[in-house]
Symmetry: C3
Amino acid sequence: MTAALLGVVRERTPLVHCVTNLVATTLSANVLLAVGASPAMVEDREEAAELAAVAGALVVNTGTMTPERADGMRAAANAALDVGTPWLLDPVGVGPLALRTRVAGELLRLGPAVVRGNASEILALAGHDGGGRGVDATDSVDDAAAAADELARRYGTVVAVSGVVDRLTDGATVRHVRGGHAVMGRMTATGCALGAVTGAFLAAARGTGDDSLTAAVAAHAVVGATGAAAGASAAGPGTFVPAWLDALAATDGRNADALVDGG
Amino acid sequence: MTAALLGVVRERTPLVHCVTNLVATTLSANVLLAVGASPAMVEDREEAAELAAVAGALVVNTGTMTPERADGMRAAANAALDVGTPWLLDPVGVGPLALRTRVAGELLRLGPAVVRGNASEILALAGHDGGGRGVDATDSVDDAAAAADELARRYGTVVAVSGVVDRLTDGATVRHVRGGHAVMGRMTATGCALGAVTGAFLAAARGTGDDSLTAAVAAHAVVGATGAAAGASAAGPGTFVPAWLDALAATDGRNADALVDGG
Amino acid sequence: MTAALLGVVRERTPLVHCVTNLVATTLSANVLLAVGASPAMVEDREEAAELAAVAGALVVNTGTMTPERADGMRAAANAALDVGTPWLLDPVGVGPLALRTRVAGELLRLGPAVVRGNASEILALAGHDGGGRGVDATDSVDDAAAAADELARRYGTVVAVSGVVDRLTDGATVRHVRGGHAVMGRMTATGCALGAVTGAFLAAARGTGDDSLTAAVAAHAVVGATGAAAGASAAGPGTFVPAWLDALAATDGRNADALVDGG
């Protein structure tokens, strides 16, 4: 499953439009290139609308939010909704910070195919009182399970909660994905990069007819498998990122399905 | 030729002012430092005008365009034109995206010494219907040859079209530069970094009396030689960038002229 | 001393809020994670005020200044002053560039615990005619000693001047910190990263009762020791950064005190 969708990414090199944060932009572009997609990081309101309408998928990430970047996000998500481009919402830091919490609440109504975040962000997005601090989760994936199911059903979306074991649901089916490595928590923007890779798989799934949950699970499995391998070979967080990008570029995805439970 | 100009960069450490995109800014600064120049990434309208007037060269890159960044670009290019600072235009994503296409059209009238882009960007800048998709070229360097010659003559500039073999022209003379490595297409902003290095060589050429075509060819040859060496030694795109920066810092440029044809 | 404070950073993972420049943001986040802190890069005016009030420390860096980012800096520094969050001012490029020079002058009045910069920036901040060019120092640490002492006494702050040997003073006591490696001058934003690490130690010192000079000296010593080790093992500037992040994540800080003179 994962290998087949990864093959489609490599064959079609889908254009993945990202409106993302300042910290994540370079790594997100590089993981997309490594996995075989074509990234375009475009945030201006006018350009974002143009690009989202022709992209294979759109990724909107609320880190380093500003009113101007929020305008670009709204324009991109509306354009994606109008023409049917699948898009992912990554609600970085939602909860403790008011501007991005308001903006994420608006964006949620524009039909994201996938919402991906840590447990505290998903709790906050669902209106629960998450314990997030800055951009870090202080809640566990299990703590957010009910909120994730509720969000998925209310908005007709897939909700992916990232943690030691990731939990993904479309409100009916739940899948778990293991993998990754503790060192990924010592490098910034690895979660944002996971969101970007998920965008590439959403784009590929348009050609295969796979649903968004299948695409998101495959993306999480590829990241889990390559992150685990790179984490095991790296001497620390600094050498992890080069090793991870090499692993993403080299993998055929065949070992990734073994990380997926449930279904 | 290349070794001599690289020696001048190292000796004078020219200040290279970049108004560039969010994805390219760190890598561009790092390649400039590796090659021996002093980067300054300044985008505010007021500061950009101050800096462009005292810099050795200016690099303007239209990626991640916003109206505010466009104001900084116009201010910098006008200041450079007024005092004779040579400057390079890198029209990232011009063609499919309207805002940056308009801004690049304005900037082209402000006397860039060099325009560097992929084939689709150069076709679009010349008013032809390029097939660019997002920020990727879908046309070949040969497809853009006539458009490049036309742009060079109309605006009195050097046009460098990047591809498997780069083609540079001032409208009269054509030079080709080989080198580089396929892995460079799997890392973001390597083309932008080539534009930044070209800025360093434009600054050095002010002291030697070399023309802009000579400077641009030398920069492309250094990037081609070091990119080929680093690409051959790297295990993938992740380990490529550290290896490339090391190669740029270590090279004396002597092996680079062998990559240049024509003249 | 250094090992004890580093242990507190690792145990408490303080939230370090950075309003920093586009070139420094990813590396600053990554050095903070490597050292054991929790970075949050938040620049919007509204969000910056919210976050600075709850953060363990705040770092404000004037590189890539814009009027909007200046608003975020003012809001964050005012919020920090109101609730007693210690904060660090890193006056990147102050002197030759007018906007950031004005903004840094305003920020200096909002009670920074530490000001960290190169010699030219400190001279300019004190109103002397520094010889800075772009963001590079053209003055020596000794040239800036009197200006640093004067700033420290006038504003009741610690002033850290970075150079081959760093000089830190609170206006009464002077400490010198050796270490680091020449290759750090060939990678962008290593000085900004030092400022970020100093923020983490300021946050840790809130729990131990150590003063800001002690915290700043410890941060400089950790950066000096890990930078020296990574510089010695790296093949060039490209391989330096991964090696440095690994060294920061691995160090227990015990070898760092040997780099500190004076007291």
